[in-house]
């Protein structure tokens, strides 16, 4: 089936084929008149040669018409499509364009001199190629079915479609499938090609990553039952991260290839004209990989520590990388990372302070580079007035200078001059069973002799759900009971088995050696690494020894914070569920040691320990693009109508909360396709307005712009017959569709026609003969 690269030239040029006929007719009108005497001989000659002359003239006319047609055909760049369907006479071809719209497709490949001209990206190049394809299909004979789908939409589950679609409960399954496509199935004609092009022009990179395999599986049914031929155009930037699972991609493509569908892998990220990118595989790009508040309890007017991690996807180190910081969209002084090694990441800390309670946002942003979407990252934090800490003690004289709780609560809440935001609540052990422990940042047990089973169960439940429990031992502690009820041969919350209280003997050989040493742990990191006079001043007289024979299992996660001079445990932690248990094997009060007395390092370590434990409870979940946002509501207290405000324009989407599998009332927002701040608003039954804020960020792995070498593509898709094209120089009807150019054959035929025309012209005596009577 012939097709043409420039079909318009054909339509304009073909009428020129009538030129020889028109010239012939004009010449008939322009006859010179000669009054001739020897008509007899002329008539005789005409009678003799009439048929031959007529045939020759017609043949000559035909040759000239053919010559002009050949010339016009040459300009129109004809091609012969040799796909089987065309040969067998089928005139229907289904074209399915599968567009990789991951955010790496927004990589700037070429910038123009004029600022008014938008830069070329892999996505804009894809759109141009699709428009070219549409134009070609519009001028191709036969029925051309066209479908266009973006991978980000095709890989969504049905309930992730737009809320309007979801609310239309009567929409059939086909309509639901169709909604995943930008163009589901449309017969492309010259009349509707413009509307299709309008849809193509609207395409933008999503903020999602690429999942090619499920997208291919979703479009595969489009080719089922087709009696015509089919072409799959997979437009992708061939990022290595997307093609790591190339075996799965090949498996998904194989049924199509076996069915005879032409598969085109169209590379959109390289072109000869790209001026500001490297043609090699490595393309440097900095990505904000993580932003996290590392403090325990975010309290108003308290400095909150943050960590931000930047990854350097390149083969050379990045120096002096500046990070702009915004708190609640207001600029604040940025920070700078001195060096990020190639292929590695670097982390830097900064602090922020919020004056008010409630949800606040912090955003960090890298300088502009070729991929903008991964240059910023947002986090939210729920700032509170204060955080309660539960302190369990059995003593009644709580303000005594010998009481553990006095020193602990003083450290946790030193007073108005140094606000920590912590409010200790001192309770007896029975409170463990009467209070809701989940409302406390951490639980501290001070020299509690024993706990009943209910209290232990409450503590362990609290720890499993992310709570942190600290045990200070002392003279009242019954180590055997502790071993039996809380350690339980390693199954319990208590980290180590105790062997009873012992004195820390003096070191006769090295009397100036410090009694305690800080281990490699974040809680005591500020004290470790060098000789610390405050820590050296701590004297430990007595402590609770750990059983000598105890060897912690390798997978127990046991980790020392502090050790004694004799290498015995002083402080040790053990993960328990989502939470943690910490054993401090001496007293909090200066009974067995003097640490809490006038030693600032005591306050530092206690506050760091509290932050460390509270962080487990207040760990902010990172929500990535495409992941659902779930709002836990209280049944009977909250209304079920929830309004979600979606970035970037705070579009309101109404959702109704429903019971999940766990029996909790949950409002879910699945449409998290844009990065930014998502808000949820609802009311309680009593009419109180509630608001919840969360940050949705991109998946930083897509920022790795390293490409799959094209030479590895055949190996990656082994067993699948496909064609590799580049979007910038792809001609849709070219040899890629099994077509071949007809230019050379037509040129050859044209030369033959012109030669024949000359010979025939000569033979019909258009050239002077020298014959005289």
């Amino acid at each position: 089936m012939p097709s043409f690269d420039f079909i318009t030239l054909l339509w304009w040029g073909l009428p020129l084929a009538a030129a020889p006929i028109v010239i012939h007719l004009i010449n008939l009108l322009r006859h010179r008149v000669v009054r001739w005497p020897a008509m007899e001989f002329l008539l005789a000659s005409q009678r003799k040669y009439r048929t031959r002359i007529l045939l020759r003239q017609l043949l000559l006319l035909l040759l000239r018409v053919l010559a002009i047609m050949g010339l016009v055909l040459l300009f129109a760049q004809p091609r012969w499509v040799t796909n089987l369907g065309s040969i067998l006479g089928s005139s229907r071809t289904r074209h399915v364009v599968l567009l990789d719209d991951s955010y790496s497709m927004g990589e700037v490949l070429r910038t123009e001199v004029s600022p008014d001209v938008p830069p070329t990206t892999a996505m804009s190049r894809s759109c141009t190629m699709i428009e070219r394809l549409l134009e070609e299909l519009a001028s191709t004979p036969g029925q051309q079915d066209f479908s266009l789908g973006r991978i980000s939409k095709l890989t969504q589950s049905n309930d992730k479609n737009s809320p309007n679609d979801k609310n239309s409960s009567n929409s059939p399954e086909k309509e639901s499938k169709g909604n995943r496509f930008d163009i589901y199935t449309e017969i492309i004609t010259p009349k509707n090609v413009d509307s299709a092009r309008v849809n193509v022009k609207k395409l933008r990179p999503s903020a999602d990553t690429t999942q090619i395999t499920p997208a291919i599986r979703n479009i595969t049914p489009l080719f089922s039952g087709d009696d015509g031929s089919g072409v799959l155009w997979l437009l992708t930037d061939l990022r290595k991260t997307d093609w790591t699972m190339s075996a799965d991609i090949a498996e998904a493509l194989k049924p199509l290839a076996d069915k005879g569908i032409e598969i085109h892998i169209v590379d959109t990220a390289t072109a000869e004209s790209d001026t500001n990118i490297l043609q090699n595989l490595s393309r440097p790009n900095l990505v904000v990989e993580r932003i996290e508040m590392i403090g325990g309890t975010p309290v108003a007017n308290v400095l909150l520590p943050w960590e931000v991690t930047v990854r350097n996807y390149s083969s050379s180190p990045s120096q002096q990388v500046s990070l702009a910081i915004q708190e609640d969209l207001l600029d604040r002084p940025g920070v700078q990372i001195d060096r990020i090694p190639p292929g590695d990441s670097a982390t830097i800390q900064f602090e922020s302070r919020f004056q008010t309670t409630g949800r606040h946002t912090v955003q960090v942003e890298l300088p502009a580079d070729r991929l903008s979407l991964d240059n910023y990252r947002t986090a939210t934090v729920e700032v509170v007035d204060e955080a309660e800490v539960l302190v369990i003690t059995t003593t009644s004289n709580r303000n005594s200078l010998d009481d553990d709780s006095f020193y602990l609560t003083t450290a946790l809440n030193p007073g108005t001059t140094a606000a920590t935001g912590l409010r200790p609540r001192i309770e007896p052990p029975r409170a463990l069973t009467t209070l809701d422990l989940n409302t406390y940042d951490s639980v501290w047990l001070l020299d509690v002799p024993r706990l009943d089973a209910a209290a232990i169960r409450a503590l362990e439940d609290y720890a499993r759900s992310g709570g942190g429990v600290v045990f200070f031992v002392g003279p009242n502690t019954d180590y055997k009971t502790m071993n039996n009820s809380l350690f339980r041969d390693g199954e319990g919350l208590f980290p180590v088995p105790l062997a009873g209280a012992v004195d820390l003997l003096k070191d006769q050989q090295n009397p100036n050696a410090p009694d305690i040493t800080a281990e490699d742990h974040p809680v005591v990191a500020i004290l470790s690494g060098r000789r610390n006079p405050f820590l050296d001043a701590v004297n430990v007289d007595r402590y609770m020894a750990v059983e000598r024979t105890y060897q912690p299992p390798p997978d127990s996660g046991l980790r020392r914070l502090l050790s004694l001079r004799n290498n015995s445990f002083l402080a040790v932690e053990k993960p328990f569920g989502k939470g943690m248990g910490v054993a401090f094997l001496s007293t909090a009060a200066p009974t067995w040691n003097n640490w809490a007395r006038n030693n600032p390092s005591w306050v530092v370590v206690i506050l760091e320990l509290e932050r460390h434990l509270a962080r487990l409870r207040r760990q902010y979940k990172t929500i990535l693009i495409g992941q659902p946002i779930e709002i836990d509501l209280e049944q009977g207290i909250d209304r079920v109508d929830v309004d979600f405000l979606l970035p970037p324009e705070n579009r309101i989407v109404h959702e109704i909360a429903a019971m999940n599998q766990d029996g909790n009332l949950v409002a879910v927002m699945n449409n998290t396709l844009e990065p930014g701040i998502y808000k949820a608003r609802w009311q309680t039954v009593a009419g109180v307005r509630q608001e919840w804020t969360a940050a949705v960020n991109i998946n930083p792995t897509e920022g790795n712009l390293e490409r799959l070498p094209v030479t590895e593509l055949p190996e990656s898709l082994s067993g699948v017959s496909f064609l590799y094209d580049r979007a910038d120089n792809l001609k849709p009807t070219n040899e890629n569709r099994g077509s071949s150019s007809l230019v050379q054959p037509i040129l050859f035929i044209l030369l033959i026609i012109l030669l024949c025309e000359q010979l025939l012209s000569y033979s019909v005596s258009y050239h002077r003969a020298h014959k005289k009577i």
Partner: protein, 307 residues
């Protein structure tokens, strides 16, 4: 000076001379200058026989030598007692009016003009030698006829006849030549100036009739170069001058066929003329008239010498 070296009058120059008598004079003067003497000298007659004198015979014809030897009166008899009777037959049909397109249609020399000039020149020469010269213009029949006379003032009558307006119909040689043969009182030399386009069998029959009546017949076949060479180029519509009809064609496509037909025609005419013992000469209108006249006269003298 030999005839070959003289400068002839080209037809283009001759065409600028409007009057036929002047054209003929220009031609004849050139011919006479070149030849020095006319082939038709004086009134010489040829001796035939003696016969006995009878009353009434002219005493000047008595052969006194015979009387001296035999004492008897015998009178000499001669074969012909008069000069040559020359009759010029000029074709005045429409086909004789052809002027090549390259010439101005008003100033060009038509085949008829050429033939009339040639005929007048011959008449001039004949009359100057004392021959009786007559002329006729014909197409389908004789349109104008001037009887043969010997006085030199007869030339003006001949010229007036040749310049008369013509009907320009098609030629009918048979009826014309038969009519001529019947009406000519004595045998003589009949010279036909024509392109011979017409019924060919009729032409041959007419020539036969003339020959049967004892006339000496000469044919000046006057044709234009275009008719012989067919040099036309480009889209052309040919409209028949005499026969009617038209052909729109590329002339080059028909040239070969035309030239073949023309060649066949000329060969046939030449052959049939020879068969009828008619003197035939093809004359191109591009050829100088005086040269044609010289050629004709020398050809005639050779032919008479042979016979």
């Amino acid at each position: 000076m030999t005839p070959a070296s003289k400068q002839y009058l080209p037809p283009e120059v001759l065409a600028r001379i409007g009057r036929l008598d002047l054209r003929a004079r220009a031609v004849v003067e050139g011919v006479l200058t070149g030849m020095h003497k006319s082939p038709y000298k004086g009134n010489s007659v040829e001796f035939l026989q003696h016969r006995e004198y009878t009353r009434g015979d002219d005493l000047r014809r008595v052969d006194w030598k015979v009387w001296g030897r035999q004492d008897r009166f015998y009178v000499k008899e001669y074969e012909n007692e008069t000069n040559l009777r020359l009759f010029l037959l000029v074709d005045g049909s429409a086909s004789m009016d052809y002027i090549p397109p390259r010439f101005d249609q008003t100033l060009g020399l038509t085949k008829y003009d050429y033939a009339a000039t040639l005929a007048t020149s011959l008449a001039w020469l004949g009359l100057s030698q004392g021959d009786a010269v007559g002329a006729s213009i014909f197409d389908e029949r004789v349109r104008t006829s001037v009887p043969a006379r010997t006085n030199r003032s007869h030339l003006s009558s001949l010229i007036a006849g040749l310049e008369k307006p013509r009907q320009k119909h098609h030629s009918d040689f048979h009826s014309v030549l038969r009519n001529l043969a019947e009406n000519l009182p004595r045998r003589g030399l009949v010279i036909i100036f024509s392109d011979l386009f017409g019924e060919r069998d009729a032409l041959y029959k007419g020539l036969q009739v003339l020959r049967q009546r004892g006339h000496d017949v000469a044919i000046c076949h006057v044709l234009d170069d275009d008719e012989l060479d067919f040099p036309f180029d480009g889209p052309t519509r040919f409209e028949g001058l005499e026969l009617g009809g038209e052909i729109s064609c590329n002339p080059r496509a028909l040239r070969d066929g035309y030239l073949q037909a023309m060649e066949q025609f000329l060969g046939e005419v030449r052959h049939r003329s020879a068969a009828s013992q008619c003197d035939y000469q093809l004359v191109r209108t591009s050829q100088a008239v005086d040269k044609t006249l010289v050629n004709f006269l020398s050809r005639r003298s050779k032919t008479r010498g042979r016979s």
